[in-house]
């Protein structure tokens, strides 16, 4: 009896992750602010190891959708599924705990603190009552290796870093949080050309680590170069999902502005 059961149990235990399965799925989400309907039943999904771009004109509902996913807003209706199971995020930290990290446009860094302190902001490792500084520094150095950027030291103050370095710290923080889904809100908007390139490489690094990346950007060229699929939003709902290799910037722009192709 026992002999017969064991192999079966082992077979069930070794579940192979299906790459086609959505890691995160948004189903029919609406969001109403007073008299304004910001989201009108959005569907959206992202898979592990995929860069999903989210594009749309100002006011299309991108930011609202992202805030719903990141736990900053509660949806009025509709549901979020993580690994196929419905989830709710009452706070941003609930979303972070569930493995969804957001790199905000202003990066949410504390300039007066070190790179290490910023990488572990709000989740500092402790030993007894002390912050385990040794471990924090070691882990921070590990993260910096993964983001492959020249930052003088994990002890350097974030306020003294360049725009690209700061972006790397903010993206590195999502790695330190071991998040599976990373949301990037206009990560290249304020950067020079070389630093933009560097951030795009970081996005591919996240992808190669098997993370699901949601990229919000106005730069269609960048979106097409780095993403796998593109979700276009207009008027509070998604108006099209395109695979990068099967679309053109012309088609994306037409979807954004609402011109029939």
């Amino acid at each position: 009896m026992a002999l017969a059961v064991e192999p079966v149990a082992a077979g069930h235990g070794a579940v192979t992750p299906k790459i086609d399965e959505a890691l995160l799925e948004v189903r029919g989400v609406t969001k109403v602010f007073g008299h304004v309907q910001a989201l009108r039943g959005v569907n959206f999904s992202v898979r592990p190891g995929e860069v999903m771009a989210l594009v749309g004109d100002n006011g299309a509902g991108k930011s609202t959708l992202i805030k719903v996913i990141a736990g900053a807003h509660r949806p009025t209706a509709g549901e979020l599924l993580l690994d196929g199971r419905p989830v709710t995020f009452p706070t941003p930290s609930a979303a972070t705990d569930a493995g969804i990290a957001t790199v905000y446009q202003d990066l949410a860094l504390v300039d007066q603190r070190s790179v290490a302190a910023n990488l572990f902001l709000g989740r500092e490792p402790t030993r007894g009552i002390r912050v385990d500084h040794k471990r924090m520094v070691a882990d921070a150095e590990e993260v910096l290796k993964r983001v492959r950027i020249r930052i003088p030291s994990v002890h350097a103050l974030v306020g003294g870093l360049s725009g690209g370095q700061r972006q790397a710290v903010a993206i590195g923080r999502t790695m330190a949080q071991n998040s599976r889904i990373v949301i990037l809100d206009e990560p290249t908007a304020a950067l020079g050309v070389e630093q933009q390139q560097f951030v795009l490489e970081l996005i591919l690094q996240l992808k190669s680590e098997g993370k699901a990346v949601i990229l919000i950007s106005h730069n269609i060229g960048q979106v097409l170069s780095v993403s796998d699929r593109i979700t276009v939003m207009r008027g509070g709902r998604e108006v099209g999902v395109r695979v990068k290799t099967e679309t053109t910037s012309d088609e994306i722009v037409k979807l954004i502005v609402g011109v029939q192709p």
Binding site: P92, S93, V110, L121, G122, R130, V131
Partner: protein, 341 residues
């Protein structure tokens, strides 16, 4: 006070594992603190030359006794200012708890050892009140604590009938808070104990990290799950507790509390914090800096007395020290290049 390289000190202060022996020395005394320490040393050298009575053990111990209350209370103010808050009510709390404890003993026959914990808890409740109004209602701390400053001062006048509360019966309470242990003033020992604990908590614990984050970038701190309201309320409670502690020390030392006791003390305390290199913009500062700031103020006062200079000049001298300190601080923080490790 704090030289152009002061921000490097901040970085080196955060090093758990210094890479070189030279760096390990900076870890104890960051470069920002080193600048303030140098200023203190310079003032001490000048005073030793100017007066034969300055560099004498009994005088120096007396200076530490005089600075103890301000340094202890400045600890709470340091926490608050790092997190971008203020507490103007600490001077009134300091005065009122002396009145309350004194009246409890004299009028109600309460043992002083029962009265002390009660007033310490009272101070924390004042902090809870301030912190709740500031964080939950969203009134700027400057306004809220300006209000409590007046309320508590009024309470001290009402309770005491405008007369000093004096002559508590003998008790070992006086020895514990204002006596001498092997020649060292009790206040000095309390100061060392409290500042050591507070310095450890601020620099080494998660709560301390969150105090810095709350002041450095409140939005970022909140987004990363730090309960900034809780941090700020705790800060106010620490400040209230330590203000009461200062009041208890004053009661023990003088055995008399005028209802106006502690008037204007909040400004001395803020001065000590600011001279100590804590930026009013939030996010930076240290307990060691605050200690050095309080020491500079105490030494300057002591020196002026020893030199026989009129008390009227003392105010102006302290004011000059503040202006110089803040000017240097602002100039140094304008150089982003200096922020690199």
């Amino acid at each position: 006070m704090s030289g152009p390289g002061s921000d490097i000190a901040q970085a080196s202060a955060e090093k758990g594992q210094p890479r070189t022996p030279a760096a390990s020395r900076f870890r104890v005394l960051g470069i920002r603190e080193l600048g303030i320490f140098a200023a203190l040393l310079l003032i001490c050298i000048c005073l030793s030359i100017a007066s034969p009575y300055f560099l004498v053990a009994s005088n120096l111990l007396n200076v530490t006794r005089q600075m103890a209350s301000i340094a202890i209370m400045a600890v709470g103010m340091t926490y608050l200012i790092i997190a971008r808050d203020f507490d103007l009510s600490v001077g009134s709390t300091y005065g009122l708890v002396g009145i309350i404890a004194g009246l409890m003993v004299l009028n109600w026959g309460v043992d002083i050892w029962v009265a002390v914990p009660i007033v310490l808890v009272f101070g924390m409740l004042v902090g809870l009140f301030n912190g709740t109004l500031v964080t939950m209602v969203g009134i700027p701390s400057f306004i809220v604590t300006l209000g409590t400053l007046s309320i508590l001062r009024g309470a001290a006048l009402i309770l005491s009938g405008g007369r000093p509360v004096s002559d508590l019966p003998p008790s070992n309470f006086f020895d514990v808070f204002a006596g001498d242990f092997h020649g060292i003033p009790a206040q000095t020992l309390w100061m060392v104990l409290i500042l050591s604990i507070a310095g450890f908590v601020l620099a080494k614990t998660k709560f301390g990290y969150h105090v810095y984050a709350t002041g450095g970038n409140p939005r970022a701190a909140r987004l990363m799950g730090i309960k900034t309201r809780r941090v700020r309320i705790i800060n106010f409670m620490i400040a209230g507790f330590l203000a009461s502690f200062g009041g208890v020390i004053a009661l023990a030392f003088l055995n008399t509390v005028p209802p106006t006791s502690g008037t204007g003390l909040e400004l001395d305390i803020i001065s000590a914090v600011v001279i100590g290199g804590t930026a009013l913009a939030g996010g930076t500062g240290s307990i060691l800096g605050t200690f050095l700031g309080a020491a500079i103020m105490a030494v300057v006062r002591n020196g002026l007395v020893l030199l026989g200079i009129s008390a009227y000049w003392q105010q102006a001298a302290i004011g000059t020290v503040i202006v110089v300190a803040v000017t240097l601080d602002v100039l140094s923080s304008r150089k982003p290049g200096a922020e690199r490790d």
